[in-house]
């Protein structure tokens, strides 16, 4: 990477508005050269950028801000919620923080694309990760690669003894936790991910032996689904520490979760709608989350194909119908306006 001697270009790199507030964290080698390139008007590129921004807005105002109402209700009054109510709130928080942050990243990436700049992908279907190690290759990619390059590798990475390697993993994840906030519950959240990673690495030989012993094909879809669900459960457990106001509260919330096996809340037609979202709002949230998962699964199965490009290949009438449905879904079902003072993007604070 050559030194940038043009102050104006350097200032533009530092203050590049689409990603200034909440990332992605762009490396100079990726963004600075683009400031020297010529940029042209391209109808399809601009349209694709606008569609990416539209999806980002959908993630933020329709999904994240809606599920946040339930999350805030339950986590704000956790003593009155037990069992699956805590499970649902924690699942919704996982959705909230993903849609909030990925939504912002998509808006930033789309805005940059409109201007003919390319920003790095910050998320790659993180909740379809098959291990915690895999999760961190898919979650907040620009931060995790930065931490890997500037903390983990600087400490010696994995080119050292096993003990030092695990020490390096723990330090990296504890710093990741601290980066999110100077509070112990963030540190514990980072520490949990460090422990997950270390244990995952320690138990790897055992897992391989067990798979051979029970003749389990690690490439089978059912095994992969199992791994995805297990990983998601561990990620959610850590999210409780991230979301709770303190470590003590997080532990109490986990206790509340195991206090009662209240599976009936899924069937009694009222309990689900007494957690901050009424029946209509809860159903909108559920449908939106299903849409989110469908989009993620499509991208997971066919990484080179985006839903946007699939829509683009359809006829004009179908494309316009999809665009209009998405725009009006945001305008009608979005959580914004004076009735709901739109909550800020969570990652603005970090």
């Amino acid at each position: 990477m050559t030194v940038e001697k043009n102050l104006a270009k350097y200032a533009l790199f530092v203050s590049f508005f689409p990603q200034l507030v909440a990332g992605p964290i762009e490396r100079s080698k990726d963004l600075l050269p683009q400031l020297h390139q010529k940029h042209y008007f391209n109808f399809n590129r601009i349209k694709d950028g606008l569609l990416l921004m539209l999806w980002g807005y959908f993630e933020k105002v329709v999904i994240a801000d809606r599920v946040a109402i339930l999350v805030n209700t339950v986590y704000g009054d956790w003593k009155n919620y037990v069992g699956f109510q805590i499970v649902i709130a924690t699942f919704f928080f996982a959705v909230q923080i993903y849609c909030d942050f990925a939504g912002y990243s998509h808006i930033a990436k789309g805005a940059a694309q409109v201007l003919d700049f390319k920003l790095v992908d910050n998320f790659a279907e993180p909740y379809l990760a098959t291990s915690i190690h895999d999760f961190w290759r898919r979650w907040h990619i620009s931060l995790s690669t930065w931490l890997k390059d500037y903390v983990y590798i600087t400490l010696g990475g994995n080119r050292c003894s096993k003990i030092k390697k695990y020490r390096n993993i723990m330090i990296t994840f504890l710093i990741s936790g601290l980066w999110h906030g100077a509070n112990w519950h963030f540190v514990v959240w980072g520490g949990l991910h460090g422990i997950y990673n270390a244990i995952g690495d320690i138990l790897k030989p055992v897992r391989i032996k067990l798979l051979k012993l029970f003749h389990v094909c690690p490439e089978s879809t059912s095994f992969k689904i199992g791994k995805i669900l297990m990983t998601f459960a561990f990620v959610n457990l850590a999210w409780i520490f991230f979301r709770a106001d303190s470590c003590q509260v997080a532990i109490s919330i986990i206790k509340q979760m195991f206090k009662e096996f209240n599976v009936w809340i899924f069937f009694d037609r009222t309990s689900l709608y007494n957690m901050g979202l009424d029946e209509i709002e809860f159903k909108i949230a559920a449908v939106s989350v299903i849409l989110l998962y469908i989009s993620n699964i499509v991208s997971y199965v066919k990484p080179k194909i985006t839903i946007r490009s699939m829509i683009e290949n359809q006829n004009l009438a179908f494309k316009y119908m999809v665009y209009i449905i998405v725009i009006f879904s945001i305008l009608i079902f979005g959580i914004y306006g004076p009735e709901y003072k739109a909550s800020n993007f969570i990652y603005f604070q970090f």
Partner: protein
């Protein structure tokens, strides 16, 4: 050629988007009877057809029945009021009215000149959202709402998009298309009777300043009426008022005198109009159908005699008004 196709695609999309936007906006827009719906009905009213326009708070909406005024003296009129309609909104409602009608007399109900208007959000919405998009609507919003809400109110949809949870058939099926009328030229009332204690403010002669913002817009209304050669009439409808309010009405009376404007305070004319506090009110602030009939008859007579308005009951252009009653 490629550019022509791309531009055409954008134009088609914008057109489709606009059509759907206007439909969805009309469905989701609140159908409040105070402030919004009378205005919607007003916009569809035959142009240049009324001689008297009434403005003010819900006091006006519940007190003045244009049907009675037509029946009594053949004067075509319309009530454009809103819930606690502040005088700045009255001012912009008058301006809006004058784009479509040329009334000979504007009757302004003065309740909000006596109260310190701290409007809640729903009333800011009711008194602005019904106006058609124009420079006046934007100005009305800017003087009514906190700056942070200006854009939301101008666009509209951000304010009422959450109504998707309360939509009914009425939101989708326009009653006017079916030829039905929801309101009688802006008049709305109940036949409920709730007896009230009769206030006695006749002895209160002291003056109390009208709040600054209200005073400013009273003067703007006076100037507007003068510039358009329209007669103004200030009216205070009967209600259970306080002595402070009466002191401010005295101040309003003084302002009216200074500008040669007729002023009628019905709280000093209970006997003259035959108002009965045991049967003519639906609550402490509003008249019911009985009370409104008495006030409307009295005011029709004043309008006819003192403003020399024409009786249009025999005018073939107003044949529909006879069927209205």
């Amino acid at each position: 050629m490629k550019i022509v196709i791309q531009v055409s695609k954008v134009i088609i999309f914008i057109f489709l988007f606009s059509v759907i936007w206007f439909y969805i906006d009309s469905v989701l827009k609140p159908k409040f009877f105070d402030g919004i719906e009378p205005l919607t009905e007003f916009y569809r009213f035959p142009r240049q057809s009324i001689d008297v326009a009434f403005f003010g708070s819900s006091h006006m909406e519940f007190s003045i029945n244009p049907v009675i005024i037509w029946q009594e003296k053949g004067i075509p009129s319309y009530v454009l009021s809103g819930s606690i309609q502040p005088l700045w909104n009255s001012y912009y409602y008058i301006k809006e009215c004058l784009k479509y009608q040329s009334p000979k007399v504007i009757v302004l109900e003065g309740f909000t000149s006596a109260v310190d208007v701290e409007l809640d959000w729903s009333r800011i919405v009711k008194n602005n959202i019904g106006l058609k998009m124009s420079k006046d609507k934007i100005e009305s919003i800017m003087v009514s709402a906190p700056k942070i809400n200006w854009l939301e109110l101008i666009i509209g949809l951000p304010v009422y998009h959450m109504r998707y949870k309360e939509l009914t058939k009425r939101d989708f099926v326009d009653p006017y298309i079916r030829g039905e009328k929801a309101y009688n030229n802006g008049f709305y009332t109940f036949d409920k009777i709730v007896p009230q204690l009769r206030p006695d403010v006749a002895g209160i002669t002291s003056l109390r300043d009208i709040p600054e913002k209200q005073f400013k817009y009273l003067n703007k209304i006076i100037d507007l009426a003068k510039s358009k050669n329209i007669e103004l009439l200030f009216v205070i409808t009967p209600y259970v008022l306080s002595s402070i309010e009466q002191e401010r009405f005295n101040c309003l009376h003084k302002l009216a005198k200074e500008n040669n404007i007729k002023f009628i305070n019905y709280n000093l004319l209970y006997e003259k109009v035959g108002l009965d506090f045991s049967s003519d009110f639906l609550d402490s602030q509003h008249l019911n159908i009985n009370g409104s009939r008495k006030i409307s008859k009295h005011l029709a007579s004043i309008l006819f005699t003192e403003y020399r308005l024409e009786d249009k009951r025999q005018n073939p252009d107003y044949a529909k008004w006879n069927s209205m009653v």
